[in-house]
Each structure stands twice: as structure tokens, then as C-alpha cells.
Amino acid sequence: MTTTPFGAQTAARATAVAARATDLTKVYGQGETQVVALDAVSLDFHQAEFTAIMGPSGSGKSTLMHCMAGLDSVSGGSARIGDTELTALSDKKLTQLRRDKIGFIFQAFNLLPTLNALENITLPMDIAGRKPDKKWLDMVVDTVGLSGRLKHRPNQLSGGQQQRVAVARALAGRPEIMFADEPTGNLDSRSGAEVLGFLRNSVRELGQTVVMVTHDPVAAGYADRVVFLADGRLVDELREPTADAVLDRMKRFDARGRTS
């Protein structure tokens, strides 16, 4: 089955494609215990757009993100970042690609406790052995409001502040695309809102591309577009969503899931 990508149909205003999945399939295990996590998913992520991936637990939303971000191998189909086909890359090339073109934000912040905030932010560039772009870095730090806390270590920062450091780290290298995995999962609602605000701002003001996996309708409400996954398939999508609209869709899937 070769479906027309959802994004291509509707994205009249979208320009270039930042990442594209074509018939992306991911299968875990073998024989009887085989689980199809992704079942030929085709999907475009557009540049300068904030996309949220939603779906119930086990829908494959995290797997989709991992495959698109080059963190996990693919069983079939193709995953591209820009013009680069990920499935053809060696582990080494894939690592380089993640380092140079992709930004990550994790649920558990994942900062290095031995480094201070600034060092954590510039870590990807340190890994690459590149000097950070000073002007850009200052702007990113300003945007996330960490100017006064750059010398603090993660354990001296609140959860919200830590996640803002993580956002700054993802942004600092000017990635082609940023992936966020439940970025507000460990935060209280106020801190969560802040972080989501930064993500949206980085898209609107800095022209970044963000893909976020979440199960929180409120978080999805910050996105430009929400795609819904269920049982490893793309089932729906919503543009300019509000939290309520997302919640409504979710309820419908839930109900469908229970009756069918």
C-alpha cells in the first residue's frame, strides 16, 4: 500500500520537507511473538513547522520518532532527514547526522550532572569539535531565559530550568530538525507551558522544525499540526489544533478502539 503522504495532501502553505517517512515499517521480535510497531507509515514533516505525534500507549508514536531521528533501525520503507536516507547509513554516519542535523529533548532532561548549564548546552558542538556560533548561542540562551544561570550545575536547577537547558542544547547547534520525546512529562504544568512556549517560539521566531511526541492534549495544542497514530498506523491529522479538539479526537479513537 502506497499511501499519499498526509502532509503532502493538505500542506498548501508548507514549503520544503524537513523529514519524510515512506512506508516506514518497524517490527519487533519474530514468529509468534512478532509485534508490528509501525505498519508502513508515510508522513512528511515540514520545515518551520511544529508537529505533534499523538496516540495511545503502544500506538507506535515513540517508535516513529526514534526511527525518524536515527536512534532505531528500520525494518522496511524509508526514513529521510532532508535529502539523507537514514536506512542506508552506517552507525558512524548516523551518529554524525544526529550530531550535526538533529536536536533532541528527552522526557528525563538527560543533562550531564558534571557539566554546568552552558557546558551542557554546547555539548553537541563540543562533541563535534566545533566552536558554537556566539550570536546564535546568546540568542538561544536569552530566549529560554537562562542568562543568569549558565554556571549552575543541573542539580542546582529546578526541573523546568533543566528542561530549558535541554531545549537550549537542542537548539544551540541550529539543527535541521528537533525531536522532543514527551518533553513535559516530568514537569509541573507551569514549567511545561514555558517549555512548550519556547518550542513554539523557536519554530515561529527562529524558523526551527520541531517534532514532538506527547500524550498530553494540552501539549499538542501548542503544535501547528497533530498527527494521530494507532496500532502502528497513521489514522488522522489535525491542523492548528486546540487542546479541546485534540482531546475530542483522542476520545473518538479510544471509543473506536474499545468497540472494534
Binding site: 528525563a108 550531564l112 563540543d126
Partner: protein, 849 residues
């Protein structure tokens, strides 16, 4: 409780692996030592019993006849050997089957290359005693016949092979100096222990042997074989009746027992020595065990808190940790015991193939070996786990309710640092104090101080780790982000890093200290032996036995030789007190030696003598004073002290001219001959001297460098043995580094996953782990080197009080090697943890718990 503990052990198999290995190695060392020593001593005892199968009674000159006998074998000679007549009388005694008269001594045999076979100390000669049918029951002939004439000889088969000699060939050999050319007429086999240990045995016919080693018609021992049905005790009492006062008899059983006792004593000191090193290895292991249990406890904080919350008492929590330690210790002890038995077996095989022949015998595993091994393994493990166990008990029940993973508490190091500083301060003070003390009290204080300082430094290592590891930053910067992260990771858990580095520190402290001391002593002794030597060569027997006076005559006759002086010892009385004289060539003394005169002049000749300060003090003499000497033949003479010199390794005691001494000595032999040649020491002049002495395999011609090399060789041999024994402690320390890294990788898997996700490649991760390992190891290495040098210096100060030429020689080359070694330890230890880290599945790693 026991079941929970067992489950915990099983659940943490992989993490306990290194701990088990560490304890296992220590226990294996202990049990291996015990098994090896008891096996060998039982085998040696059996073989020594076998050695006495033909000797039911041994008759030797009695102690009473040897009362005045000088130890050096050249004192007043009222030693009564056993005459032929006694042998005949014994042979006629009822109950005697066979008698064998023996004489023995030194006999050097030249190998194919002209060099001495064996090491000189095991080059033995004896007589072939033609008993019944003209055969010697001790030495069954394999080939040829028994020696009958003075120029004939029989060799043991091994020596014959090494000399490349067959029956009918001629070999060059020497007994007390002059070269003998002997025709090999027979080759025999023997289970003589000396030959088995790599020595040589040459047999002359009895008459020749008597001439060489004793006196014509005299034996040094008569062995008696009892007729069937005659007991050793019955035979002994029969023989005792006919023995003169100057001879005594001993039963073969008693001889065997005595030998067994000697063997047992030797084995027990060897056992103690080995066990000390096993103890060091076990001690190092304690650090690893403590590290592991600390980590297991901190990882299980929540679980332990839950146990507390549902009503377990503190004691129960501690006990659960200790039971775990018991299980781990028991597993390690059992495997260690088995490994030790294997090592004991292997060691014997190795020694056999390595040339040192160890008699065969069954493997002896005493019950004590098993008990000791198990108790040691379990006790050490439980002891090391005790502190972590107590810490576990202090976890408050509320910790179970915290949703957040317990953050590693950075408990204050203030108390620890204070204690460490106190210990170190006291240790340094004691060591410094000891260096200004003398003798045994100094040794005790030094040992105490060293112990205190070692503990103090260990307690302080967490504090020291930060600045010292920070000092490595410039080097690590070259490795980019991996280096930076490695440095920070290394100081992240100062206690763990400290314990890991300390384990390595202990081994390296000992190794460095020993190397410093050995190197300095070696230099000092070499200096002492050669500083006062002006002669080009020192001529001695390879066996360090006395030289025949013929040698010094030959040397004096050599036209190349400008000055020569034989040195001989002679027992004597000085003003009635026991003492000895050293005979020298008084005229040549000034050309051959550089003696430091305290007063008077170096005038030796006639009644003029010089003596060292010690002798002067002992006998209360001064330059110019006179004294009465009683020579070994009992004649008295008045002598004058012409000068007093400072004694040294080469020259000591009262120096008398040989011309004065000669008339009073019956058979004079020389200890060594000092030689100065026209052209000075060179290869060609040495060769010429060797030629003029008849290319004698038994004689060593050493120039100063040879003497220094000989000392160096001895010191190196000892050092290498100690290195080998300390290697086990280093291996255990390596396991400790592996353990720490594996724990760190495990604990930081989430971070490593994140680093991989944001673009650090596998190589970078590996490098990070490796560098951390390197930093910890080199840190331990540097601490060990510094402490080792300090202890070496302090011990040297103490040695310096009794060894005048002692000065600290820092073995920079070796110290460099030790530092490299500790770096190598780091790299090797990181192999497996680094691979594991690089292979971590980043998806599972980054997922929030």
C-alpha cells in the same frame, strides 16, 4: 532473610563477578601456597628417605673431635677423619652387610663451551668406592667402568651430556685450583639431590679422592648397610662398641628425620613468605569488595528502605547485606580453593620443566588447607562488606516513599580528611623520626610509620583525587570532549575512585619502595667492593671455596702481572682472645688496595700489622701498641700495630704479611688473589691471565665491572621474585579498576545513551571510559610511586647507618616503567567496560525509568 540475600546475589551476578574474582584470586594464592608447600615437603621427605636406602648407619667424625675446628675449614687442624682401619673393623661387625667409605668436596667440570657446568655451589666431587665386586652401591654404572687411576673419572649421566663427553673422552676440571685433565672411564646414574637440582658430580677412584679431599687412607664418612634382619638400632649399638671417641654413628632413620625436619623448616619459612604476599593480595581485594557492596547498597536504597518501612530492624538490614557477603565469599572461597589446588599442581609441573627438579609425589591437600582457605575467603568478604552493611541500616524508611532515584549523597569529607591528615601526619613524623634512629628500634618505628602513612593516604585519597586529577586536565584536553567528561567522571564519586586507586597504590608503593632500596643497596655494595680496590682483577674459585696456593704462584709468575697478593685467613688468638688474621702480600698491598687509614701507615711486613677500626676497638689497641698473637700452630709472637684503617667489604680485620704467617700454617689456602697487570683491566689481559692459569673452569677472574655485575645479578634475581609475588596484588587491583568502571558504566547508562543520541560516536564513548580508567590508574600509580620513593628513602636512611657508602639512587627508568605499567593497567581494565558502554542500547538507556 537468607533467601532474599541469595536472590540478591543471583540478581547481581554480573556486578559481583569482579568481586568474586578478586576474592578468588586471593584465596587461590593462599590455598595454592598451602597445597604446593605441603605437597613438595611430603615429596622431599619421601625422596630423602629413599636417599638413605643404602645407609642404615652413617659414621662421621664426632663433634668432640671438631671442637677446635675453624668454620672456614682452615683453622687449627685437629680434625680426625675416619681411617681405613676403622672401615675394616666396621665391615667385620656382625649384622653389617656392606660398608662404603666416602670423601667428597668441590669439583668443577668444564662444559662444551669451556665454562663451568652448574653454578659452582653445586659442583661436587667424590669417590667411587669399589665395594663388593668392585661396584659402588650408590652409583650404578650406565656405561664404561669404575675409575681406577688418578687421571680417570666417572661422571653422572647429566653432567657427561652437558660436557659432551663419552667414555674415553677427556674433560678439563679442577678441584682446588690447578687444571686437571681427566679421562672419562664411566658414566653413572644417581638420584643425588644435588645433581637433580642442576649440579654436577664427578667421581675419582677412592685413593685419588682421598688425596684431593681428605688424606690418604681417610674417609669423611662411612655408610653402613645392614644385613637383612638386622635392625638399625641393633646395628648402631654393635658399631658404637667399636667406635673410637673421635667418631660417632647415626641411624639412617635419624638422618632421614633430621633432613625431613630441615626440609619442613625451610618449607615453612617459604610458606610464610608466600602467605605474606597472599595477604597483600587479599588486602587489596578488600577495597574492591567494599566498593561493590557500597554500590549495591546505594542502588537498592529504595528496596532497603521498604524493608525498613515494613518493619525490618536496622540489624536485620545489616545482616541481610552480610549474608549476601557470606554467599559471595563462600562462592569465591570454594572456587579459589579449587583454583589454588590447580595452581599448586601447575607450579610443580612448571618447576619441573623449568629445570629445578622437584621429586614426584601425590598432591597433598591437608584438611587445614581447606578450612583456612574457606575461612579466609568468607571472613575477608564479610569484613569488607561490614561498613556498607552498616550504611545500609542507616537508610531512613522514608527513602522508600521518594519517587526520585536517590541522589548519591555527597556526604561531607571533613571528618574523613581530618582523620586522614592525623594519620598521615603521625605516619610521616614516625618515618622521619625513624631515619634518625639506629638499628632495630628504627626498623620498628619505620614500619609503624609506614603503616600509618599508608592508611592516612588511603583515607585522604578522595581529597587528593581532585587536585591531582585536575592536574591531568591539560593532557586530557587533547582528547576533546571525551577527555573532559572522563576527567569529570573520575572525580564524580571520590570515595569509589579513591578506593580503586588505593588498591593499585598499595602494590605500586611496595614495588617502588623495594626497587629504590634494592637499587641503592646494590650501588652501595658495588661501590664498597670496588672503591677500595686498585687491583685490576680479583681471582677466586667459582664456588668461593679456598684456592690452592699454586694459583697465586702461577699468577706471580705471569710476566704481565705487576703486583699480586693472595688473601688468606688464619684462626689466631690476639692477646689471648679469639680472633683471626688475614694474610696479605704486604709489599703489594699499597698497589692493590686503597685503604682509608685512620692513623699510622700501611706497613705490613714482619711484625708490623695493620688492623681495621673494629678490630682495634675490640682488642683495645692503638697505632704503635703491640700485642701477642697465638698462631694456629700454637706458636706465639709479638706484633706491632703499624696503622689502623677503616674496614670495608673487601678488607677487614688484622692484616699480616703472608711471609710471617706461612711458617705457622700447615696447608694454606687462599680466599682470593688480587692482581694488577701491566696493561690494566681489558679483555685481552683478562684472557691472557686466564690462559696462564690454564683455562681453568673452576677459577673466576673478575674485574671491577664483573663484581658490580655479579652483585646486580643477585639483587635483580631477588627483585624479580618479589615483583612476581606482588604481581598478584596488582592483578587484583586491575580487577578493581574493571569493577569500578563496570559499575560506573552501569550507573551512567542513561547519560551514555543520551551522549550517543546527541552524536557522540561509539569511539568517543569508548575513549571516555578508557580515559577515565587511565586517569584513575595513573592517579593510583603516582600515589604509589611517591609513597614508594618516600619509604625507600626512609629505609635507606636507616640502612645508611650500617652501610657507609649508601646513597639514594632513584631508578628513574624503572619508575617510568611503573608509571607506564599503571597506565597499561588502566587501558587493559577499560577494555571490557568500554565495549559494554559503546554497545549500550541507547533507546533503553534514554528512556526515563
Amino acid at each position: 532473610m537468607f533467601r532474599t540475600a541469595l536472590r540478591n546475589v543471583l540478581a547481581h551476578k554480573a556486578r559481583l563477578l569482579m568481586t568474586v574474582l578478586a576474592v578468588m584470586l586471593g584465596v587461590a594464592f593462599v590455598s595454592g601456597t598451602l597445597v604446593f608447600t605441603s605437597t613438595i615437603s611430603s615429596a622431599l621427605q619421601k625422596s630423602s628417605e629413599k636417599g638413605f636406602t643404602n645407609t642404615d648407619i652413617a659414621i662421621t667424625p664426632s663433634d668432640s673431635s671438631a671442637n677446635n675446628h675453624n668454620k672456614d675449614g682452615d683453622g687449627p687442624s685437629d680434625w680426625h677423619e675416619l681411617p681405613q682401619s676403622l672401615l675394616k673393623k666396621v665391615a667385620k661387625t656382625p649384622g653389617v652387610d656392606q660398608v662404603t667409605g666416602t670423601v667428597s668436596g668441590f669439583a668443577a667440570v668444564a662444559g662444551k663451551d669451556g665454562e663451568l657446568i652448574g653454578n659452582g655451589f653445586t659442583s661436587a666431587g667424590g669417590n667411587y668406592y669399589a665395594g663388593e665386586n668392585g661396584a659402588d652401591i650408590r652409583y650404578p654404572l650406565k656405561d664404561g667402568r669404575a675409575p681406577h687411576q688418578a687421571d680417570e673419572i666417572a661422571l653422572d649421566s647429566k653432567t657427561a651430556e652437558r660436557a659432551g663427553a663419552k667414555v674415553g673422552d677427556t674433560v678439563r676440571m679442577s678441584v682446588d685450583g690447578p687444571v686437571l685433565r681427566q679421562k672419562v672411564v664411566g658414566v653413572f646414574t644417581t638420584d643425588d639431590g644435588n645433581v637433580a637440582a642442576g649440579g654436577s658430580l664427578a667421581l675419582f677412584d677412592t685413593r685419588t679422592a682421598q688425596k684431593l679431599y681428605s688424606k690418604p687412607g681417610e674417609f669423611s664418612e662411612i655408610d653402613v648397610k645392614a644385613a637383612p634382619g638386622t635392625s638399625q638400632t641393633a646395628l648402631k649399638s654393635a658399631i658404637d662398641k667399636i667406635l673410637p671417641k673421635t667418631a660417632e654413628s647415626t641411624t639412617g632413620k635419624k638422618l632421614a628425620d633430621d633432613q625431613a625436619k630441615t626440609i619442613a623448616a625451610g618449607m615453612s619459612s617459604m610458606k610464610t613468605g608466600l602467605l605474606v604476599f597472599a595477604g597483600i593480595a587479599l588486602f587489596v581485594g578488600i577495597f574492591i569488595i567494599a566498593n561493590t557492596f557500597t554500590m549495591l547498597v546505594s542502588q537498592r536504597t529504595k528496596e532497603l528502605a521498604l524493608m525498613r518501612a515494613v518493619g525490618a530492624s536496622r540489624r536485620q538490614v545489616t545482616r541481610s547485606v552480610l549474608i549476601e557477603a557470606f554467599v559471595v565469599g563462600a562462592i569465591a572461597a570454594v572456587t579459589g580453593l579449587l583454583a589454588g589446588i590447580g595452581i599448586g599442581t601447575l607450579l610443580r609441573t612448571l618447576m619441573n620443566s623449568g629445570g629445578a627438579t622437584v621429586p614426584d609425589g601425590p598432591l597433598v591437600i591437608e584438611p587445614a588447607t581447606i578450612v583456612i582457605s574457606l575461612v579466609v575467603g568468607i571472613a575477608v568478604t564479610m569484613l569488607a562488606a561490614w561498613l556498607p552493611g552498616r550504611r545500609a541500616a542507616k537508610i531512613p524508611p522514608i527513602a522508600a516513599m521518594n519517587s526520585v532515584h536517590a541522589v548519591a549523597t555527597t556526604r561531607s569529607l571533613v571528618i574523613r580528611n581530618t582523620v586522614g591528615a592525623l594519620f598521615s601526619g603521625a605516619g610521616i613524623a614516625a618515618v622521619l623520626g625513624a631515619t634518625s634512629m639506629a638499628g632495630d628500634s628504627g626498623k620498628g618505628v619505620l614500619g609503624l610509620g609506614a603503616g600509618l602513612l599508608l592508611i592516612g593516604v588511603f583515607v585522604l585519597t578522595p581529597l587528593l583525587s581532585r587536585p591531582l586529577i585536575a592536574a591531568a586536565a591539560p593532557v586530557l584536553r587533547a582528547f576533546g570532549i571525551s577527555g573532559k567528561l572522563a576527567r569529570q567522571n573520575a572525580v564524580r564519586n571520590p570515595r569509589r575512585t579513591a578506593a580503586t586507586a588505593s588498591a593499585l597504590m598499595i602494590g605500586l608503593t611496595l614495588i617502588t619502595g623495594l626497587t629504590v632500596i634494592a637499587g641503592s643497596v646494590q650501588t652501595a655494595v658495588g661501590k664498597m667492593a670496588t672503591d677500595s680496590l686498585k687491583a685490576d682483577y680479583v681471582v677466586t674459585m667459582a664456588s668461593k671455596r679456598p684456592l690452592s696456593p699454586q694459583v697465586s704462584k702461577d699468577i706471580a709468575a705471569d710476566p704481565n702481572v705487576t703486583a699480586a697478593s693472595p688473601m688468606r685467613s688464619s684462626g689466631a688468638r690476639v692477646n689471648g682472645d679469639d680472633g683471626y688474621l688475614t694474610g696479605v702480600n704486604g709489599k703489594a698491598l699499597g698497589d692493590l688496595t686503597r685503604l682509608d687509614l685512620a692513623s699510622g701507615s700501611l706497613n705490613v711486613g714482619g711484625h708490623n700489622t695493620v688492623m681495621d677500626e673494629d678490630s682495634a676497638k675490640e682488642h683495645g689497641l692503638r697505632t704503635g701498641s703491640s700485642y701477642v698473637t697465638t698462631f694456629e700452630d700454637g706458636k706465639k709472637s709479638r706484633m706491632t700495630v703499624a696503622g689502623i684503617y677503616k674496614g670495608n667489604e673487601l678488607m677487614r680485620g688484622i692484616l699480616v704479611d703472608n711471609a710471617t704467617l706461612d711458617p705457622h700454617q700447615k696447608d694454606a689456602t687462599d680466599r682470593q688473589v688480587l692482581v694488577k697487570t701491566k696493561d690494566g683491566a681489558s679483555k685481552s689481559s683478562k684472557e691472557a691471565l686466564r690462559k696462564s692459569l690454564g683455562d681453568n673452569p673452576a677459577i673466576q677472574i673478575n674485574d671491577k665491572q664483573d663484581i658490580i655485575n655479579e652483585i646486580a645479578q643477585m639483587v635483580n634475581l631477588m627483585l624479580n621474585m618479589l615483583y612476581g609475588l606482588l604481581a598478584m596484588a596488582v592483578i587484583v587491583a586491575v580487577l578493581g579498576v574493571v569493577n569500578t568502571l563496570a559499575m560506573s558504566v552501569f550507573e551512567r547508562s542513561q547519560e551514555i545513551g543520551m551522549l550517543r543520541a546527541i552524536g557522540l560516536d561509539r569511539k568517543g564513548i569508548k575513549r571516555m571510559v578508557r580515559l577515565e580508567s587511565l586517569v584513575i590508574s595513573v592517579f593510583g600509580g603516582v600515589l604509589g610511586l611517591v609513597l614508594g620513593v618516600f619509604f625507600g628513602w626512609a629505609a635507606g636512611e636507616l640502612i645508611g647507618t650500617s652501610l657507609a657508602t649508601y646513597e639514594l639512587v632513584l631508578p628513574w627508568g624503572r619508575m617510568g616503567i611503573f608509571l607506564l605499567l599503571s597506565a597499561l593497567v588502566g587501558v587493559l581494565a577499560a577494555l571490557w567496560p568500554a565495549r559494554r558502554a559503546a554497545r549500550l542500547n541507547m533507546l533503553t538507556a534514554i528512556k526515563a525509568e
